[in-house]
Amino acid sequence: MTFLRFWLIAISLALTAQGTAAAPARLTFSWLTNVGPLNPHLYAPDQIFAVAMVYEPLVKYQADGTFAPWLAESWDISEDGRIYTFRLRQSVTFSNGEPFDAAAVVANFNAILAERPRHAWLELTKRITAIEALDERTVRMTLDESYYPTLAELSLSRPFRFAAPSQFRNGGTADGLVAPIGTGPWILRSTRLGESDLFVRNERYWGERPALDEIEVKVIIDPNARAVAMEAGVLDLIFGSEGPIFPEVFARFKTMPTFTAKVSSPVETRFLTINANRGPTRDIAVRKAINHAVNKDLIVATVLAGTQVRADTLFAPTVPYADAGLKPYGFDPALARKMLDDGGWRLGDDGVRRKAGEVLTLDLCFIGPDAVAKTLAEIIHAQLADIGIQVNLIGEEESSVYARHRDGRFGMIFNRTWGAPYDPQGFLSATRFPTHADYQSQEGLPDKDQIRAAIGAVLRTTDENERRTLYREILTRLHDAAVHLPLTYATSMIVSKPRFGDIPTAPLASEIPFERIRPEAR
């Protein structure tokens, strides 16, 4: 008996010891799809968070809106704002051992610029006229004119990130890469189509060594299935600002001691664009009344279970240049009714207002399968009915809703800003083009030309004071015209197992800083 006990203990000890030694520190996460082949210079199907795990920028966007040295350890900008000279960090190599030097930077920029139409959405690709290696560690970039968001666009997760030139096909990246080799803290080790992707730590990483050995990304489409997987112990982390789980489910995780649940600081604004160029919302009194009639605190507390923050302006005041001292349209249904009365919209027997035969009715368009948007739309419908505005709820597939953005077939439509580092410049710049719902709305504003001219000017100016003044002018004009109904500042929801410690967040909402996750005890 003693003999048997001895062997049992010995075997179990051996198994335990082996288990501890062999088990890598792995974190299991989930995403809607496979991460893609990971080419920083192409787009779909590559997932941004994964691109950012493997490839790095010259400069890194910081939470306070500034830029930290990253692959470039320093840089100079010429007086006229046209010439940027980057000094590259020493002893950085790609994960295959290839040196990261000026030649690699120039090769990557050339690969990007060879495909300018693909990147035309990004102003910087149109501005760059030359990129040269001055020596092994110095790169000079010349623009045709000054463009102040240059560093912001260089810090984006794509396309200005660097793949090992040895992996280029046909001298470029447009035809794909041989393998996704970057300088970042992670290497994409394997992909199982429709099932999962596996990242391992880059042992050659120049920065601080990640504590985790591996990141497994499982493919889970459905938010409920994701929550179930978390609860069943299949996942270690849920992270995302795109509704990775439903708000009420998040609230439930928050009450469970076996999980840590928190939200990040705000990453972008969710709002409705109100169409100033169609139907009764052409009348500014109607637009302002709508802004006073919706109880956002109620929405945040109920539908969103406190996972987002009430928004009073198009951009949160913490967004660079957005603290323009705008006066919020507070929740005040009585004032809203008075505004409509004063504007000549008289309440009919059916509870709907009319003016000169025109019925105060408008279409509110949302993505039908989006349960949260649907509930928000229903609440707004009820609150506007309360002041005599009839709202028609139009829930459609995502692509049909975006078609409405493009051609202006909406009274109000769900919209969002782009988050850091695009806000405010990238978002505002896009409103100058007809594909944006805001463009369609602005068409109905008497000062649309001034607004668009000011947006053009703010992107070019090198004068900080002028920039500040221009932003104040643009944001004030838009706020006063009440072409938006800001709803909430969205956050990322983060649910994790406590043993992974406090999960950090990145200044860019699209990135997940896996390399900074420190499990409490290995």
């Binding site: 799809t33 429709g194 069943a232 594909t435």
Partner: protein
Amino acid sequence: MLGFILRRLLLLIPMLLGASIIVFLVLRLAPSDPAMDYLRLSYVPPSPEALEHARTMLGLDRPLITQYFDWLWRAVQLDFGRSYATGRPVLPDLMHFLPATLQLAGVALVVTLGISMPLGMWAARHSNRWPDHVVRLVAFFGVSMPNFWLGFLLVLFFSIQLGWLPPMGRGGWQYMVMPAIAVSLMSLSINARLLRASMLEAAGNRHVAYARLRGLSERTVERSHVLRNALLPIITATGMHVGELIGGTLIIETIFGWPGVGRYAISAVLNRDFPVIQCFTMSMVVIFVVCNLVVDIVYAWADPRIRLSAGGSND
């Protein structure tokens, strides 16, 4: 019989051609723009230049008729193009995912038949007594419960509460249990009730009474004289269940993280990924036609009257 099968297979060609035209046109009737979806998936703001570039890249700038014939010419060579969303060739990806779906649907079919048959026979044998009531109750729940809801309940109970079965993924038989039950419960319930009704009807026939008078055992009467005649509606129903099971599998895959063609197809529908939707529809047409053909063959085999009236021989 061979001529019958060949004729049916030849009919596939006009059916596929018709389906391809309908799918191609219906997809393009919707007021949406796949180029816009491509940019959305890429997280690229849809500036006019970006849209134009995406349209050219996806070949959407050409006339519709050119797009169709170009697609058709490639499709007959089994080249269904590349997915707008993933950039990968469609057919190899579909073939990668299809086996998992067919496996799940196949197991669900076995579960459907394997459980519904004994249940239906048991209920018929004890008609209007407690076994019949139990089967009725089970069938009532099975038919009323949406499969995705049942899927979540199963996960909640067996994975989260009891920790017996893995909640998602594909692996050993343990991974198969809950999805197969969730997919098959409805078909199983319908089949059990159908078999019961059909057996009771057959049991009322005179030849069954004569069989009993001939002194045959109850077991022989049930097997050879009641069940055989009661099977015909079940064969037809099974043909329909195959469609239901594949359809159910497509939904259930999303819940159980089953890496099948359903998730691939649903993502494609949401993203207006035309090449994937077209290829998926064509393959479903083939699968359904082949399944119907198999049902017809089995039907003819089971019922000599049909095979003889169809001009076949009795050998």
